[in-house]
C-alpha cells in the first residue's frame, strides 16, 4: 500500500512537470509570446518593448525562463490579469465554485442513471431495453453538448417556460431553491453524454462480474437473484467505476465548460472565453494549468480510493 502510494504520487508529480512544460511551450508559441498584450498598445515604441523584455527577463535562455516561471507557479504567483490587475489565482478562485457545482450535480445524475441502465442492461442482456440503451448511448455520445443545450433552452425555457434559460441564480434571490431551479437544465444537459458513458462501462463491468465463480457460489448457496445481483455482482462491478470517474474528469470538465458558455453559467468555462476575448493570456494560461492540476489530482484521488476499497491493492 505504501509503495503503491509513493509510486502513484511520484507519477503525478512527473505528470505535473510535463503539464507545466507543455503550458510553457504554448505560452511561447503564441505570436508575440508573453509580450502579446503589450504589442496591442499603439503607444508602444521599440525601446519600450525592449525595456519590458529586459524587465520581464525575456532575454534570458528559455530554460532559465521556464524554471523561473515554474518556481513562481509553485509559490502561488500565477501573474496578474491584464483585464483588472487582480492576481490570476484569485480570479480563478472566484469561478471555481460554479463549475464544481455544475460538475458535481451532473456527475451525480449521470452516475445514478448510468449505473442503473448499465445493471439493467447487463442482467437482461439482448433484451429490447439492452438494445435500446446501446443504440441510445451511441446517439447520446454523438450529440454536441452545446447544441443539446440550445435545444433544451428552446423547449424548456422558451416554449414551456418551466426553467430559466441561463445564469446561476436570479439577482436578489439567493435561496437554495432558486439555485436548484437554475441548476436543473444545465446539469441535465451535461449529464446526457456521461449517462451514455457510465451505462456502457457499468454494463460491461456487470457482465464481467456475473461470469465470476463467486457469483456461481452465491447462487449455489441459494441466495435470491436480487441479493446475488445487488450484493455480489454490483458491489464488484462498482469498483472500476471509481477509476472511471477519475478518467472521465477531463471530459466532464470539458463538458462543463461547453455547457457554461451556452447557459451563461459564471464558472471557469465562461471565464476562459471572456479572457480569450480580452487576450488576457495570464488568466487563459492559469486556467489551462489549473484545470490540468484538477484532472491530475482527481485521478490520484480516484486511484487512492480504489486502493483503500480494494483489498487486493490495499494488502499487497
Amino acid at each position: 500500500m505504501r509503495s503503491f502510494l509513493i509510486n502513484r504520487l511520484f507519477q503525478s508529480i512527473v505528470l505535473l512537470v510535463m503539464v507545466s512544460i507543455i503550458g510553457f511551450v504554448i505560452l511561447n508559441l503564441i505570436p508575440g509570446g508573453p509580450l502579446a498584450q503589450y504589442g496591442l498598445d499603439p503607444g508602444m515604441t521599440q525601446d519600450d518593448m525592449a525595456r519590458i523584455t529586459e524587465q520581464l527577463g525575456l532575454n534570458r535562455p528559455l530554460w532559465v525562463q521556464y524554471f523561473d516561471w515554474a518556481w513562481r507557479l509553485l509559490q502561488g504567483d500565477w501573474g496578474t490579469s491584464f483585464r483588472d490587475g487582480a492576481p490570476v489565482l484569485s480570479v480563478i478562485g472566484r469561478h471555481v465554485f460554479a463549475t464544481l457545482l455544475l460538475m458535481g450535480t451532473s456527475t451525480a445524475i449521470a452516475m445514478t442513471v448510468g449505473i442503473w441502465i448499465g445493471i439493467r442492461g447487463a442482467t437482461r442482456r439482448y433484451s429490447v431495453f439492452d438494445y435500446a440503451a446501446t443504440v441510445g448511448a451511441m446517439v447520446a455520445l454523438s450529440i454536441p453538448t452545446f447544441w443539446f443545450g440550445l435545444v433544451g433552452i428552446y423547449v424548456f425555457s422558451l416554449q414551456l417556460g418551466w426553467l430559466p434559460a441561463g445564469n446561476m441564480y436570479k439577482i436578489g434571490d439567493g435561496s437554495f431553491l432558486n439555485y436548484l431551479h437554475h441548476l436543473i437544465l444545465p446539469s441535465a444537459v451535461l449529464a446526457l453524454v456521461h449517462i451514455a458513458i457510465w451505462s456502457r462501462y457499468m454494463r460491461s463491468a456487470t457482465l464481467d462480474a456475473i461470469s465470476q465463480d463467486y457469483v456461481k457460489t452465491a447462487r449455489a448457496k441459494g441466495l435470491s437473484e436480487r441479493r446475488v445481483i445487488l450484493k455480489h455482482v454490483v458491489g464488484n462491478a462498482l469498483l472500476p467505476m471509481i477509476t472511471l470517474a477519475g478518467i472521465q474528469l477531463p471530459s466532464i470538465l470539458t463538458g462543463a465548460l461547453v455547457t457554461e458558455t451556452v447557459f451563461t453559467w459564471p464558472g471557469m468555462g465562461r471565464l476562459f472565453l471572456d479572457s480569450l476575448g480580452y487576450s488576457d493570456y495570464p488568466v487563459v494560461m492559469g486556467l489551462l494549468i489549473f484545470s490540468a492540476i484538477i484532472v491530475i489530482l482527481g485521478n490520484l484521488i480516484a486511484d487512492i480510493v480504489v486502493a483503500i476499497v480494494d483489498p487486493r491493492i490495499r494488502l499487497a
Binding site: L15, M18, S142, L150, Y154, R200, P250, T254, T261, V262
Partner: protein
Amino acid sequence: MTAFVQPVHASHWWQSRAARRFMSHHLALLGLAMIICLVLACIFAPYLLPYDSLYIDLRARFAPPFTGGHIFGTDPLGRDVAARLFEAGRISLLVGFFAMVLSTLVGTLVGVIAGYRGGWVGAVLMRVVDGFLAFPSIFLLLALAAALRPSPLMVTVLIAVTSWMQVARIVEAEVRSLREREFVLAGRMLGLSGTHLMFREILPNAVGPIIVTATLTVAHAILLEAYISFLGYGIQPPVPSWGNMLQGAQQYLGNAPWLAIVPGAMITIAVTSFNFIGDGLRDALDVRGDQI
C-alpha cells in the same frame, strides 16, 4: 501480414471474415449508408438547390422552413439555410477527415516508437501523451486557435494536435505486446532493421485498433470543429461550417429556432454515423474495448 485484408479462405477481401461480420452489423451499415448519402448531398446538393449559398435576399430574412423554396428556411441575412448547410458539410467533413488522418499519423508514429523502443524513450513519449491528455481538450484547442487566427487548414492541424493522444496510447499498448512475439524475434534474428520491424512487421498487425480509433476520431474531430466554430474561433465566415452556422443562432432561438436545430441535427447525424461505423468495425476486426 496485413491483419485487416488478410484473405485466409477467401480469394477477395470482401469475402473475408471481417468484411462478412461488418456486413451483418446493421447499425454499421446504417451509418455507412448515412455517410454516403451525406457526402453525396454535400457534393451535389448545392447545384440542385434553387438558391446559391451566398445569395443574400434581404426581403426574405428569417423565412421559415418550406416557404419560398427554402427547404430549411433562411438566416438573418436572407441566405438559404439548405444551400449553406451542404456547403458547410463539405468543410466540416473535410476538416474532420483530414484532422483524423493527421492525428492518426502522428499518434501511430509516436505509439509505434514508444511501444517498440520502450525504455526511457517510450517512458518520455508516453508521459508527453499523458501530459496532453491532462488538459481539457477544448481549453487547449481554444487557447491555440485564439492565438493563431485559424484558416480551415490551421483548424484541421490544431484539432489533430489536440486529439492524437488516444491513437498513440492504443498503438503503444498494441506494439508493446506484439514486440515479444515469435515473428518479431525471428525478424530480429534475420537481422532486419528496427525501422523495418516496426513499420513492416509489427504495424500491419496493429491495423485493426488503429482503424477503429481513426473512425471514432473523425466523429470527435467533427464535434471539436463544431464547438470552436460555434464560439467564433474556428472556421471563419463567410466560409460556412456546421459549427459557425450555429454561431449567433442562440440569440434568434425564440423567433427562428430552425437556425439552431438544422445544423445541429446535421452534426448529430454525421457523428452518430461515424460512431456506428466505428462500432461495427470494432466487432468485425475483433478489437477489444469496453468503451463505445
